[in-house]
Amino acid sequence: MDLLLTLVSIIMTAATPLLLAALGETVTERAGVLNLGVEGMMIMGAVAGFAGAALSGNPFVGVVAAILAGMAMALLFGFLTLTLLANQVATGLALTLLGLGLSALIGESFVGQPGIKLPSIGGIDPLVPFSFAMVAAVSWFLFRSKGGLIVRAVGVSHASAHALGYNVVGVRYLAVLFGGAMAGLGGGYLSLFYTPQWVENMSAGRGWIALALVVFASWLPLRVLAGAYLFGTISILSFVLQAAGVGIPSQFLSSLPYLGTILALVVISGNKALTRRNTPANLGQAFVPDR
């Protein structure tokens, strides 16, 4: 029973950063914006979180720093793609490259320092229930509130939304900033709880997996939750098998999350009917109002 509890808690900690980042990107993509820079925002959140906690001695300062770092990166992305109308794919890649480089530079002086871990409340760290609450909140927002309807409308047809008088660019900025905040928080979780340390490139591709998760979940928050926990289980599987001394090379086990992501993408994308109906029709397209 103890073992089961331990396993469940390990899966939760593995799934939570994915869940947070993927929820944020879900809202961003629902508004029609494809932000490939999730990895960059996460890693910046990780380094900012660690630095914030280390410099202030308080891990909650780290959490705030992580969120702000993610939002700052998102703002940069938003400015380029929503105001300057730069190509969304290229800008997202740039955000990731910049984030990886900048975080390495900032984090250099923190390498090897022991981290300040977020206190757990009753054995559970607070961000796990928070992440569940966010799933409910995002779900309610998108499907039961006028604000969420506007976000979805902007993603489905920005031309129609504009014709009706909605501020498409403004809505998208907010969606992008939310995505940044969540990605930053997810990154902060890595350096403040998962392995309370700073290691260069510690996000290890989770931002990319979060992006795949959004597609896999057909942009539905509840499915994002399911997908994140599925991936959490796969990641933990590799550790468990390695610890159990099964004779599979560790590198193969470590590759399982990445292979799993590819498989998930293939399964979901191959179902044309499903993707056509659910994909926000204007995803990735710049909106240029005619004046």
């Binding site: 105001t83 794919v89 290229a90 480089g101 530079l105 597609v215 590198q251 293939v266």
Partner: protein, 354 residues
């Protein structure tokens, strides 16, 4: 102040934009140096100018530029077609693994044919690895950005496994590396610093440039990227274009991998590239997605690597500044590119008296 679409793309801005972007990067880099407490002018000098003053550092720059140009040229073609191959780093690694199998299994095979075999295997390895995301996109409509990127992690883990396990040099004191390559299984050098790969790279980039501008294939790629429906209307097959672009970019990345392990690196080890596959993405954009422009962009980015090492040695600035400067450069390129299709207008469309 707002943006207004131009009636036509501005040719003047298309040429000027990379230069403006570079200038803005220099300014930003100077600010970063100043914030760290370094003299910005000294740092800029050491970073960008000094490496061009000594022959050996010029040679180093050319050697570093070779994989960047080779991969960047292939990526520039792919991106033109909206085929987003982000996994060039993995294709480079796959090419290196396959090419490296020759010295690992046949270290005694010393002849020009051995080298040729390595080259061909390098290209094949890259093509094979690139064919996976291409197929997944063609058959399952799976997003190639994510699949090609996931495969980078996978192949890097494969390499790690091989050099720590079955391919490890038994006389290597348990270090995770293969035997060192020697003789015909290494890249011939033209001068003391420049190997043959540099020349081959430039020739390939020039050839690709001609193909893009003068052949039907190049036309097909340009149409596919700009108007997929028009491409279908023209009779071009989207699936074969996707496969072609991936195989081209992958093959060139694999070739670059083969070149790297048979020269600078000299063996197979867990880390064989300082992220060339990703830096090449920046090279492709800086070069305006044109294989000829990529030659100059590659040289510039190679300079940024050398400069990074230089400021680390001379001024104790961590060489991680390199990736930051590269990322900032890409941002400025994308921002300046806006001015090609849009102009900045200062008047606002408010109700005015006639």
């Amino acid at each position: 102040m707002r943006l207004e679409k131009r009636a036509e793309r501005s040719n003047a801005m298309a040429i000027a934009s990379p230069f403006i972007a570079f200038a803005l990067t220099i300014v930003t880099a100077a600010i970063i140096f100043a914030l760290r407490g370094n003299n910005p002018f000294a740092a800029l000098y050491v970073y960008f100018i000094e490496p061009l003053t000594a022959m050996w550092s010029i040679e180093q720059t050319l050697v570093k530029a070779s994989p960047l140009i080779l991969i960047g040229a292939g990526l520039s073609v792919a991106y033109r077609a909206n085929v987003w191959n982000i996994g060039a780093e993995g294709q480079l690694t796959a090419g290196a693994i396959l090419a490296g199998s020759v010295p690992v299994f046949f270290p005694q095979w010393q002849s020009p044919l051995a080298f040729l075999a390595m080259i061909i295997l390098g290209v094949l390895g890259g093509m094979l690895w690139a064919s996976i995301p291409a197929t997944l996109r063609n058959r399952f409509n799976a997003n190639e950005i994510l699949t090609s990127l996931m495969l980078v992690y996978v192949v890097q883990l494969l390499l790690d496994y091989l050099v720590r396990g079955p391919w490890r040099d038994p006389q290597g004191f348990n270090f995770p590396k293969t035997v060192s390559f020697s003789g015909w299984q290494t890249l011939p050098y033209l001068t003391s610093g420049i190997h043959v790969g540099v020349v081959i790279t430039v020739l390939i980039a020039l050839a690709l440039g001609l193909v893009m501008s003068h052949t039907l294939k190049g036309f097909e790629i340009a149409v596919t990227g700009q108007s997929p429906r028009a491409a279908r209307f023209a009779g071009f097959s989207e699936k074969s274009t996707v496969m072609f672009c991936f195989l081209l970019a992958g093959g060139l990345a694999g070739l670059a991998g083969a070149f790297e392990i048979s020269s600078v690196v000299g063996q197979l080890q867990p880390q064989i590239s300082p992220g060339y596959g990703f830096a090449a993405i920046i090279v492709a954009f800086l070069g305006r997605l044109n294989p000829i422009g990529v030659i100059f962009a590659g040289l510039l980015l190679a300079l940024s690597y050398i400069g990074g090492e230089a400021v680390q040695t001379a001024l104790q600035i961590p060489d991680k500044i390199t990736r930051v400067i590269q990322g900032i450069l890409l941002f400025y390129i994308l921002a300046c590119d806006t001015l090609i299709s849009y102009r900045i207008v200062t008047s606002s469309p408010v109700l005015q008296k006639a």
